[in-house]
Amino acid sequence: MEHLIFLIPLLPLLGFLLNGLLGKRLGKGFVSFVGCASVGLAFWVALLVVSALISRPPEDRQLVQHLWSWIALGHFKVSVSFLVDQLSAVMILIVTGVSFVIHIYSIGYMHDDESYWRYFAYLNMFVFFMCMLVLGANYLVMFVGWEGVGLASYLLIGFWYQGIPNADAGKKAFIVNRVGDFGFALGMFMMFVTFGSLSYLQVFPKAYHLYEAGKLGLNNPALIAICLLLFVGATGKSAQIPLYVWLPDAMAGPTPVSALIHAATMVTAGVYMVARSNILYTLAPTALLVVAGIAATTALFAATIGILQNDIKKVLAYSTVSQLGYMFMGVGVTAYWAGIFHLMTHAFFKACLFLCSGSVIHAMGGDQDMRHMGGLAKKMPITYLTMLSATLAIAGIPPFAGFFSKDEILWRTFNFPFYPVAGKIYWALGAIGAAVTAFYMFRLIFMTFHGKFRGTEEQWHHVHESPISMTFPLIVLGTLSLVGGWIGISPLLGEKLGNVPNVLENFLDPVFEHSAEIVAKYGHVTHYSHSFEWAMMGLSVLLALTGFAAAFYIYMIRPEDLPKKLAEKFAGVYNLVYNKYYVDEIYYLCVVMPVYWGGMFFWKVIDAFVIDGLGVNGTAFLVKQGSAVSREAHNGYISTYGAFMLIGIVGILWYFLHLSPHYITDTIMGWLRAAF
């Protein structure tokens, strides 16, 4: 089935070309059909490929398709090849599947938009690049996809470019991404210098063999540098500290875009990258410490910002940043499968949350402010139920999907093999973050769907359930938010439930087996008793319920006075958090303004003054002044010209004869003596 792999990116690319070139003329029906069919077919091909993969024995699950040799410069050889192993299988199914669902949703959501064709063209382009990213067999093809999804993100965030804030948000996303991409590129350069190749099938075996032969110890500085540089790219793409600032602004784009790109797929590219490079990260535990640390901090930090936001999409945006932190925590503590597991469940419930919010925004006629909502549950039952399902998932309430993935991550973080102490700290951050997550998500639910409606009368009349094209994807995703976690049930629970195997972990293990081997050898894994593990599990659920209870108390029982009183009492903290810790302002002062001043300096001083003024104009001035002086030589007097000729003759004579005055006087004396 290898020969079919290339179809997976090709079909969305064809969709992009058809929609982009012909879509405007051929109308909405054509655009919708081509847009959804291309991704749907890609999903189907992905299923075929993955089933072919599964039919092989576990050791042999690797399908490679080599398309053509792209770059061949001496030792630097890169080819366009695709690799499907268990990891990319999971990713490609998530990408194409969720994309397909969201494409269907977009038919209804973007129905009234006049640039309908452009939207689907960009969306297909995005899916194409995301498939390239996930399927690539070397870092350069991944980077092509990496950059391409950044481009698609920029285009889609600024989709309604007529509004300046939208265009600005698109620019911000692209520029901040670019900063990360710079780190990624540097990482690739170092990787080539260190390993001589960028291909997965060469770098990873080489790293492992060097380790086995004893030539590559843990924490080799070059390896740490590579891993950290690649992670810089991941902080940009996957919105971690310090490059997360673009994600909340990215909510200026259409809601399905936020769902697909900024929740389910593009932002997870960084996690995929780290999981793919697992052997390199495992061999550089210091890099893992950094990754997990940043991740844990981001998880809590973003969650705290989310509790005070009033725009429904902004809450979800910060939630995404926070959940991405959890994913990186998972891969950062060498629990790679857990990070991917959370990626999968997050794709389901976050996409569901975004699409539901899109449904709500649609119903509210474009208003995204939760302070104008309330009591919508009666009028939008399907949206309400699916959103509730997704919220329960994200809060980590069993048996919903999020519980299994989040719990696994927290447990493994607590047990960080290389740095147990750091692991405990990170666990604490993550656990508090879980409570805060539950709090703000249920705050969202209560403010939106319960209580009294706080908007205008005509808004209330307009509120209606969305059409089937929008609710069908909601149902699909809501269901997946419930059942999606059941393929990753941890062994402890699995035994209790009748020996249910951890399907996902078993499936993904071969990809990470080298890492597991290294961790087993060098990591300090404390074996806790089963009861302790149960206690931890219970603690996670308890934290989630605490968050729920707090939200319930504040926003259901005393919604009129308590929020305001708390805001007044803790005014300083409130303002700080409400203004997102002023991170954007700090960046503006510390990064943007210096660059601006630098640009102004280079423009006004160096370009205008030095190059234009001194260089170009100055040279002309010098020439003019010089010629003003030298043209005086042509004063019209013949004798002057004669004098110049004389000077010339004397000069030539001097040049050819080289007589010194001494010699001249001697000779004259000699003659005079001879004459007389």
Binding site: S639, A643, L646, I647, I649, V650, L653, W654, F656, L657, L659, Y663, I664, T667, I668
Partner: protein, 165 residues
């Protein structure tokens, strides 16, 4: 001590200095005449009698007459005030440069005696018929070109002398 040479050399140089320093034009022309005549004498001494004749005939006889005629035509009383360059620096510079050039030329010729063919001159050296032989056989083309040049000069002179150009 070649007395013949020395006499005419001194006369020539003195006349030259007189020519370039006197204020009025006509005495300068006469000084020039003296230079020409002394040179003609030196040519005779150098076994070139035909050249001496040409010197007298052409220079003293034709060119100088022409110059004197023009002096007569163009000289107005006011012009007599005109002499040398007003700028003293110019004169000093010119003098120094000329001096320098003279030294260079003279001293550059040091050791030129080695180049000289000291053998005896062939019989009849400087005779007109040998001269004519050379002129009309070996240098015939040059002769013809010179005549064309004179023709052109003639036409040019006639044209320039018209009342209205």
């Amino acid at each position: 001590m070649d007395i013949y040479f020395w006499i005419f050399a001194v006369i020539g140089v003195a006349a030259g200095i007189f020519t370039i320093s006197y204020k009025d034009a006509l005495p300068c022309a006469l000084g020039l005449l003296t230079v020409f005549m002394s040179l003609a004498a030196l040519y005779v001494h150098l076994h070139a009698p035909l050249v001496a004749i040409f010197q007298v005939a052409i220079y003293a006889g034709a060119i100088l007459i022409l110059v004197v005629f023009v002096i007569m035509l163009l000289m107005t009383p006011d012009e007599d005030q005109m002499g040398r360059q007003k700028n003293i620096g110019f004169r000093i510079m010119g003098f120094l440069l000329g001096l320098l050039m003279m030294c260079y030329l003279a001293i550059g010729a040091k050791g030129i005696d080695q180049l000289v063919n000291q053998e005896k001159l062939p019989k009849g050296f400087g005779d007109p018929h040998i001269f004519g032989d050379l002129l009309f056989k070996q240098y015939l083309l040059h002769f013809e070109v010179a005549s064309v040049l004179l023709l052109v000069a003639l036409i040019g002179g006639v044209y320039l002398a018209k009342k209205r150009l």
